[in-house]
Symmetry: C2
Subunit: 488 residues, 2 copies
């Protein structure tokens, strides 16, 4: 599964240390940058090790959304009231079942402070709202709904938009990492690129350093304070995915190619516990603006979710419940209403005057779409959706001609060039079990001395669900805390 | 999570050994009994430790089905041809995705030999077929279909019934464990009851014994050959379930109350890897004979599976896809066709002359059942089920009066006395990663010297799916192999 043993090296086996610092951070994505910056700010000497030739990691390839709220300056400027309590209720429901309430509570309580810290680093957010479900706004709007107004969430917590999108032309992750990278460059943090960590070093039960490979050399690092693992998830390790998250097998991986799970395994081999290793985000290959104006159906033509939820929840339902054999059904009006910049080139794969013809073209059972759309339209005449409770603003009868989009044929967001993720791109959200200060916990629920983690190497805020912005959000938030704890 | 640390004890910390044997088996369920018998037969001295006051474990409470095939004497006597290849194709599909092909292949290849071994121990099987989906036949029939004839499995492997049910009046698990218990009693195996293992003992990387509690005493056991963990799953450990299998939280647990996961954690703390910890069997609270003659629908009145599959697969779909908010819909004829002994006292919760009334009584959207049953009946007139491909023998139009059974209100199998598992009873199927000889593997895929495991403490044959008889089946099969390996 790994090219070399993940077992820790005993301190007395270290020939000599090449570097000695207070804090070692492993991985230069958003969590690692945040940990390094805060450890540096706390007065620690910091080495930030990155296996690739430059920083950024999977964070730099992301859409750049941070799930923040409780009354940020951007929310206020857009005219939305919000409270940490409502944010916590929403996240607990959306990331559940059975989320880590200590983490979710703290994350929501300190969300405004965290937003202000990001702004202080220079991360740009624009105070304007994009008011339709989407993966990434086709504009530079800085605030997005993440399904807070959708059933059942609107009945659980007072809705407020909490998707804070880093201002960018397209995906904002690169902007976020440019800014954090610039702050790291200005700081006292010592960045070592092309430096892949292969082992932890243990002195008894305490993590006191790491072994790394840099080209053909083995390099030994001693950490006086602690080691912070921010090595990402394990989506790129096919065997680990098969062992823990079999439902994700075979799908495209949303990463920089380096989410090999080694950081997780290194910690496990030092006694760490993991959580929710089967969980994953499912970036389904559909245009949310089309789905919400039409419907998403399975291979039998049946809807299975209100299409105004955060589209990753559509993706989880589509993959885990229907094996991604799903279609977007819409009419001409719905298609035309989606701005061209938001369509990412997606066009209908099937078009027909009648639902009976459309069923036949797709290969669905006779009656499948006729019964589903018939029922939908009958209730939509009254503006109702008693089956799935989609918000009334998105509900109207669909009319001929009808069109269908086969989700498994993929889409090509502009940022992806010619690649067309077939059906979905996923990443893993399970990982190391940490406490609110980023300490990695062992099987007895006790911190492993000297070992910290943040970002997608941990299970973070998540149980089974996912909302966009909770990876950059929890990575930076708990990355900061881990850096402070390791420095302290 | 555990009442005391799960960390291993170093050999030099052992004050003195109270017992020294070749092989220690931990847990006296079907896997432990099989491991102990084979280790004894191989000439090893064996101590079989059981934390309760007597053997049996969760195995003794089970239905007593063993999934066996490839041409057993029972299959032949009932007139069915079968091959290991077809058995392997079925199990790979039903237990997948991405099953351990080494294990499934070996299990199928040697299934006839294993059946013969069980018979040689005295386990009774009757050569007669129960020919309808069920949890446990209301007769003493010894052979059952486990959905081999159902879509999509019938198209993947030539169907043969492979559910071998230990002959019993009711649940057969107690008979199985009486027989295996009698063989253990006649053997040289030394059974220590009231002896709960709390720690493994390590000499460097090698497992060389266990620490146990017996009432107020701490007892130290040395194993010259190996320790075999057959300690069951972790369903009774609510915190472990929440961490690994959040979708199972809050459901009834199908166990003897002792599936606390400690055995799994002891091995993990000694470096063991785990697999598929989120997976579980879902014993849904419905009568399969009723479901197959009617239909199972979700809260929107929509079917979601062909009702002739193994009912545990209905359970997994109902729980993981629909949160167990499901109903059995049937008509008078369907209800009457189910023999009273098979009904376990279940009666309709709602009865109505029309589907519109039934919808209203249940609280489903207007049109929900009318559209679903309308579509079902329209195709059933032709004997077809184009939506889910239920076998034609179970397909006919449903007619007034209609009835609905609320699955969450539970059922009370005679063996359960007055208890009524609400919605479903579950157990975990993830666990330690082992090779085909029962050796527990570490995070480097290497065997941990001296440590073996079998039964539900391991992930066994399973990935995500489940078929009845693959727990007693893989527990006894790989239990035997682990016993032999530990003795050798």
């Amino acid at each position: 599964m790994f090219s070399s043993s993940v077992r820790p090296l005993a301190l007395d086996q270290v020939p000599a240390f090449d570097h000695e610092v207070d804090v070692i951070v492993v991985g230069f994505g958003c969590a690692g940058a945040s940990a390094a910056l805060e450890a540096d700010a706390a007065g620690a000497s910091v080495a930030l090790l990155e296996k690739y030739s430059g920083g950024g990691g999977s964070s730099a390839l992301s859409g750049g959304e941070m799930y923040l709220g409780g009354g940020t300056a951007i929310q206020q400027a857009c005219g939305f009231d919000d409270t940490p309590e409502d944010m916590q209720k929403f996240l607990s429901a959306a990331l559940g079942p059975d989320t880590d309430q200590d983490k979710v509570s703290l994350y929501c309580r300190d969300s405004v402070e965290h937003f202000d810290w990001l702004v202080a680093q220079g991360v740009p957010f624009k105070p304007s709202l994009w008011d339709s479900p989407t993966w990434v706004p086709p504009t530079d709007d800085g605030l997005m709904w993440m399904g807070e107004r959708a059933h059942p969430f609107a009945g659980i917590a007072k809705p407020a938009p909490r998707g804070h999108r880093v201002t960018a032309d397209g995906f904002g992750g690169k902007v976020l990492m440019e800014v954090l990278g610039a702050r790291v460059a200005e700081s006292g943090v010592d960045v070592h690129t092309d430096t892949g960590v292969t082992q932890l070093i243990l002195d008894g039960d305490r993590v006191v350093g790491v072994v790394a490979r840099r080209f053909n050399d083995t390099v030994y690092y001693r950490a006086r304070g602690g080691v912070v693992l921010t090595t990402g998830g394990f989506g790129d390790n096919a065997e680990m995915v098969a062992q823990h998250a079999p439902q994700l097998v075979g799908l495209g991986i949303n990463s920089d190619g380096g989410d090999d799970g080694r950081g997780i395994a290194l910690a496990q081999a030092a006694g760490a516990a993991v959580r929710h290793m089967s969980a994953g985000q499912v970036g389904i290959s559909l245009i949310p603006g089309m789905a919400v104006r039409g419907m998403v159906v399975d291979a039998n033509g049946r809807r299975f979710i209100n299409e105004d939820v955060y589209p990753g929840l559509i993706g989880q339902a589509a993959l885990f419940k229907h094996g991604l054999h799903v279609w977007v059904i819409l009419d001409e009006q719905a298609y035309e209403e989606v701005p061209e910049a938001e369509r990412w080139g997606v066009q209908p794969h099937f078009v027909a005057e009648t639902l009976a013809e459309l069923e036949q073209e797709i290969g669905m059972p006779d009656g499948a779409l006729q019964s589903t759309v018939g029922e939908y339209n009958r209730h939509a005449e009254q503006g109702d959706d008693p089956y799935f409770h989609k918000e009334a603003r998105w509900v109207r009868p669909l009319t001929s001609p009808f069109a269908a989009i086969d989700v498994r044929r993929g889409i090509a967001p502009p940022e992806y060039g010619d690649s067309k993720p077939g059906g979905a791109e996923v990443f893993t959200t399970g990982g190391l079990r940490t406490n609110v200060d980023g300490a990695v916990l062992d099987l007895d629920d006790e911190p492993i001395p000297g070992l910290y983690a943040a970002g997608r190497a941990t299970s973070g805020l998540h149980s089974w669900g996912y909302i966009s912005g909770t990876s950059l959000g929890d990575g930076t938030f708990f990355g900061r805390r881990a850096g402070i704890a390791a420095a302290g």
